[in-house]
């Protein structure tokens, strides 16, 4: 990992002899495969000698460690680590060979090595196949004479092993000046600040406006005018439910909002509109999708090394939608996703947050590849966890202490250790009886399949082809199992969840390399938040305790991070414009007091997201017009002071859903399994089958319009304008179909051409066309009809209305 250049804040100066190992140049050696160590020359050994501490094997000379690194470790890595190390899926005989201490301690059969005495060492006996036979036959087979000689010599030498020293790691306790580090705004406690007084009370709807108006005044800018009622209604619809109002709804709300007729919108009507929209199930669909970006939600794994299959991922997606619709308090929402399995079955669905993440594996069992894969998987868990809930880039501390934020490498492995004791699996949503019945039905099918496999394996072992007789038998068994399979009922409902597998602390992986375990990192929360003395998480994996720590009201990050995200999705720009990085390299809030006021109000409301929507949307700030202002623009082109509402280009979900909505084709049924080809479907875009890799038609379509690749948590969509989007708009059958449907709808609703155009503008843009626009339309429609059977001029015109920028912007 290359880390940003910049001042190393908070970091006490390093002793010169250690300065080198943190630089990329040396990491390069350490991170790459151990097998190349010998060839890469002596710098690695030099590096190691810097790291070697007393507790390894103090009496050995540097050459001994060189011998270990060049001759011994490669053998251990290649032949033993598969079953006996921290990268092993399950450690055999409780015996590990990845540190000197574990070798001396040994496994169920006692110590493996007696330093200096090969004849008394179980390890040597085993590789000589005198008592135990190791490595067992199978993929690793036996060691050759030279290799046995190397290990024997090594034990004779006293089993030199360069342990990583305490002082080399120092893991945080001494590296940061914690007092100074704590001064960063985001680690400070949340303070409920009283909103500043303002002079023109008339234009203030709630405390949000007091903060914003105060800021505008200081910047010498004016408070913006309110948006027109029709613009506001459309904005509220798109924001809360991701769809436009129907013409009837638009008219109804415009009348209700404009009741005062003084330019200001009627407060009661605004409140009613917000409540009405929050009550719709489409609200959860819209905001659930925004959450799923953070979750890097996918219906399938990423193929090749990320083979996870998640046929029921959609149940987690629906759970998110339901949780938002029922306004589940955010602290509960978080708790369920980190540790729902410790609450109850229903809550366990939330742990799909982690269970549906990429789980990398190696495709050939090579130890280096296996370790790398495991390390990447844990990185996904820590990264998604820390960025989503805490706005922290903890993954920066995977190979070394975080260079900018006070997150020591040990804290990374404290959290990674929690996920190292958790694994993904299935939780049935039905009673044990149903599961048993299903297993009964499946049993004969599985037995037949095992029989087939056994016959094939036997033939393989005997290095002969399957005989004709066996082949006939196999085919008969296969036919039978296929028949049973077809007759058997579909599998019961289940969800992909996380469960605990153990409760062991993990060791720091030195420079991110799991094959080089360092100090133990007790499972616990971050020092940056909880201080030096912290609770050791010992209940199972520790996830429940982790969840408690995250939503503890004293944690200054969780509430700030979520209110900032909600704000961003209402305004297009967040108060902290790096919504998943509140660290020192992130942006400072544009309105720090407002952020804190929102966060504390949010917690006081019982962490109610719906109540937060109401507070934000009731403000005059949210009701502002997006009109351009030359003077304000030149003073604050980035709109940090919120001198107007930001106009936003729709995301792909809102755009596609709106296209189907205005043509009266949108299928608003809720939930269920994903739709493989969303381009051919009329369901909401939320229900598209999302994948991490393959360019299915659905993925290709979504990514054309900036849908994030769900390999990692995405805090904010990019918004690209690329030519291929216009190829889709002008040439795709999807757009041609919508144009046809819109044309028909308009023709049904009005008898004259002008009436149809007017209705089109009302339906699509929420306004009436100008004279110029009517003329342009008339001129186009009077043009030559196409000679072939393609779309006629009217359909072409409708396609243009749907492809126009105005349709794609929320203002």
């Amino acid at each position: 990992m290359n880390c940003p250049e910049g001042p190393q804040r908070y970091i006490a100066s390093e002793p010169p002899e250690r300065a080198g190992w943190r630089s990329g140049r040396v990491n390069r050696l350490a991170l790459s495969t151990l097998r190349h160590v010998a060839r890469r020359g002596s710098s690695f050994v030099v590096l190691l000698s810097l790291l070697v501490g007393a507790q390894g094997s103090a009496t050995n000379a540097p050459e001994d460690f060189e011998f270990f690194e060049s001759e011994v470790r490669p053998i251990l890595v290649n032949y033993c680590y598969g079953c006996h190390s921290n990268i092993a899926r399950s450690v055999r005989s409780d015996f590990r060979l990845d540190s000197r201490a574990s070798l001396l301690k040994g496994g169920t059969r006692g110590p493996a090595v007696v330093p200096g005495k090969p004849e008394e060492s179980l390890l040597i006996e085993a590789i000589r196949r005198e008592s135990l036979e190791m490595p067992p036959s199978g993929p690793n087979e036996r060691l050759n004479g030279a290799q046995i000689a190397v290990l024997t010599k090594w034990v004779e030498m006293g089993a030199p092993w360069p342990e990583v020293s305490e002082s080399a790691l120092r893991s945080g306790e001494g590296r940061y000046d914690w007092e100074t580090a704590r001064e960063h705004w985001a680690w400070q406690p949340i303070q409920k600040v009283s909103p500043p007084p303002v002079r023109k009370k008339k234009k203030v709807r709630n405390p949000i406006d007091q903060f914003v108006v105060d800021g505008l005044r200081k910047a010498g800018l004016k408070q913006p005018k309110p948006a027109l009622a029709a613009v506001f209604v459309r904005r509220a619809f798109f924001d809360l439910i991701g769809m436009p109002p129907t013409p009837d709804e638009l008219e109804h709300w415009v009348v209700a909002l404009d009741a005062t007729r003084k330019g200001n919108l009627n407060d009661d009507a605004v409140a009613q509109l917000i409540d009405a929209l929050l009550e719709r199930p489409q609200y959860g669909e819209r905001w659930g999708r925004l959450w799923l970006d953070l979750v890097r939600y996918s219906d399938t794994g990423g193929w090749s090394q990320d083979n996870g299959s998640f046929p029921n991922a959609w149940r987690y997606r629906d759970w998110v939608v339901d949780a938002l619709n029922s306004d589940m308090p955010y602290n509960e929402f978080v708790r369920h996703q980190i540790a729902g399995d410790t609450i109850d079955r229903e809550a366990s669905i939330g742990t799909g947050f982690f269970a549906l993440g990429p789980s990398y594996s190696s495709d050939g069992g090579d130890p280096v590849a296996t370790a790398q894969a495991k390390s990447e998987t844990l990185d996904d868990r820590v990264d998604t966890f820390s960025r989503t809930f805490l706005g922290l880039t903890m993954a920066c501390a995977r190979c070394h202490d975080h260079k900018f934020d006070p997150i020591p490498i040990q804290d990374y492995y404290s959290i990674a250790g929690i996920f190292n004791n958790s694994k993904g699996g299935e939780t049935p949503l039905v009673g044990a009886e149903v599961v048993r019945e299903y297993q009964e039905v499946r049993r004969p099918i599985n037995e037949l399949r095992v029989k087939v496999r056994d016959v094939r394996q036997t033939a393989g072992k005997e290095k002969r082809p399957v005989s004709d007789e066996e082949q006939m038998q196999i085919e008969a068994w296969q036919a039978e199992s296929d028949k049973l399979d077809e007759e058997s009922p579909p599998k019961y409902a289940f969800v992909h969840t996380l469960s605990d597998t153990g409760g062991e602390d993990m060791r720091v992986a030195v420079r991110g390399n799991l094959m080089k375990p360092g100090q133990v990192a007790p499972r616990r929360f971050l020092r940056l938040i909880e201080g030096k003395e912290r609770e050791h998480f010992t209940e199972g994996s520790g996830r429940r305790q982790l969840a408690d720590a995250v939503v503890d009201p004293g944690n200054p990050l969780t509430a700030r991070v979520i209110v900032n995200r909600i704000w961003m999705n209402h305004f297009g720009r967040a108060l902290v414009r790096t919504p998943s990085n509140f660290g020192t390299l992130g942006e400072k809030p544009t309105h720090p007091e407002l952020l804190d006021w929102l966060a504390s109000t949010f917690m006081e409301s019982g962490w109610s997201i719906k109540s937060l929507h109401r507070t934000i949307m009731m403000s005059a700030t949210y009701r502002s017009s997006s009109a351009f202002d030359e003077r304000a623009f030149s003073a604050d082109g980035d709109n940090r002071s919120i001198w107007r509402m930001n106009a936003r280009r729709m995301d792909v979900e809102t755009w596609r859903d709106s296209l189907l909505a205005v043509t009266n084709e949108l299928d608003v049924s809720l939930g269920g399994p994903p739709v493989e080809n969303i381009v051919d479907s009329n369901r909401r875009t939320l229900y598209a089958s999302v994948s991490r890799n393959d360019p299915y038609i659905t993925d290709e379509f979504l990514r054309l319009f900036d849908f994030p690749i769900p390999r990692a948590s995405s805090a904010k969509r990019t918004s690209s304008v690329i030519p291929q989007q216009f190829l889709f708009m002008m040439n795709s059958s999807f757009m041609l179909d919508r144009a046809r449907a819109l044309g028909q709808r308009l023709q049904e609703e009005s008898g004259t051409q002008e009436g149809q155009i007017r209705q089109g503008y009302h339906l699509l843009y929420g306004r009436q066309p100008s004279e110029r626009e009517l003329e342009t339309a008339a001129r186009f429609l009077a043009g030559d009809m196409p000679t072939e059977s393609g779309p006629d001029r009217w359909q072409q015109y409708c396609q243009v209305l749907l492809s126009a920028n105005e349709f794609m912007y929320i203002r």
């Binding site: 990329g24 790459s32 304008v721 196409p786 126009a804």
Partner: protein, 474 residues
Amino acid sequence: MSHHRPSPPISRRDALRKIGSGFGNLGLAGLIAGTAPEAHGVLPSAAPLAPKAPHFAPKAKHVIQLFMPGGPSQVDTFDYKPLIAKHAGERPAIVDKKSLRNTKNGLLPSPWGFKQYGECGKWVSDIFPHTAECVDDICFIHSMHTDIPEHAGAILKFNLGHLQPSRPSLGSWLCYGLGTENQNLPGFVAMSPKAQPRGKAANWGNAFLPGAYSGVYANIASMEPGSILRDLKNQHLSRTEQRHQADLLAELNRFDLERQQQDQKLESSIQAMEMAFRMQFAVPEVFDTVDESKSTHELYGESDFAKGCLIARRLVERGVRMVQLSHSVSGYDIAWDTGHGDILHHETLARTCDQGIAALLKDLKQRGLLDETLVIWGGEFGRAPTSEGKMGRDHDHYGFTVWMAGGGVKPGYTHGATDEFGCSAVENPVHVHDMHATILHLMGLDHERLTYRYSGRDFRLTDVHGHVVHDIIA
């Protein structure tokens, strides 16, 4: 958001003044990538794919990667090791390495003869007779090595410098760093005659870079110019009719622009639409090779791969930054892996690509394009000199061969060496990261400065690794 020096935030007005020609030309090239997730509120560069200045004078302007997924055997192609035959069946300590399948057999001599070619006298296997004619233009790197002997990870390592598919590909980095020269064509085109290489879209993906930098996969399977890109062709309207419709859309968008006082990406979207309009005709034109002379067609020959080679030349000729052409002869996504069971399959594979490769080199040279185009040939790793089964070879990531031609590398040159049996890189080893650093260097980019801030970190193609192999640079 870029590797260039951070510039202070500029107001739109400043931006307009700097561009100097008012609203009409803002976002002239028409492509607007969004601000990066954590970009700092600076106006996005008007055109992410517009040509950008490199860090220093480049040797090459384009890259054509001829990717051989599955791992071609070095000792049966370009890394001549006569000693293998002498010690056939033996297993000297130097080759007694753990392979993926842990094969324990002895040395297997190459079933093919080798001959010397060119002024440089390079030994080349009989299965690559055409490429052999070009050795005086080629720079061989025999000392490549990579991290693991597994396809999926090693393929990604080769194409994005990382074992997992979570990083941007080489071509995406190049487009991010340099933009591209022809705004009517994508900057990075990936293609393959039959099967996408293992890992599929990740091999040309943008990962966390803005979407504009993603490689575009061109479907050359059917060689149907109209279906190279999805929705490229309008099925119903004539070009004139399309023009009328596009004009109408542009007009409505211009009305909107006036109403909104030019303050969003509206102008750039008008330009992007114009570019889409032109792409509809520019793209099929590149992929339709009817205008090539008879002698050119004869030079390349008939294979699907050769057609890809010809299109690669046409793409770089028109300014495309990078082309990744992956070999495949069937639906199998790691074609060269058939070497496990029987190394003789290599002959079939070579036959389907050899003439096309040589034709590409000759054609580029003849047109004066070879100097500015870096051609790279190779797979994700090599194959062991020892046997697997009777006639197969297991994976070998300790040493393998990649060759480059044109684009500022030394012609008729050999860099590094494997041991006497061709198993491991022993002389001047070149890791995949070093290869990437060198490719970026040849393109005028410093691999340590080409960074992208994402998720609180500055990412690089070479991560924290990589050294430029100055030795191979002419």
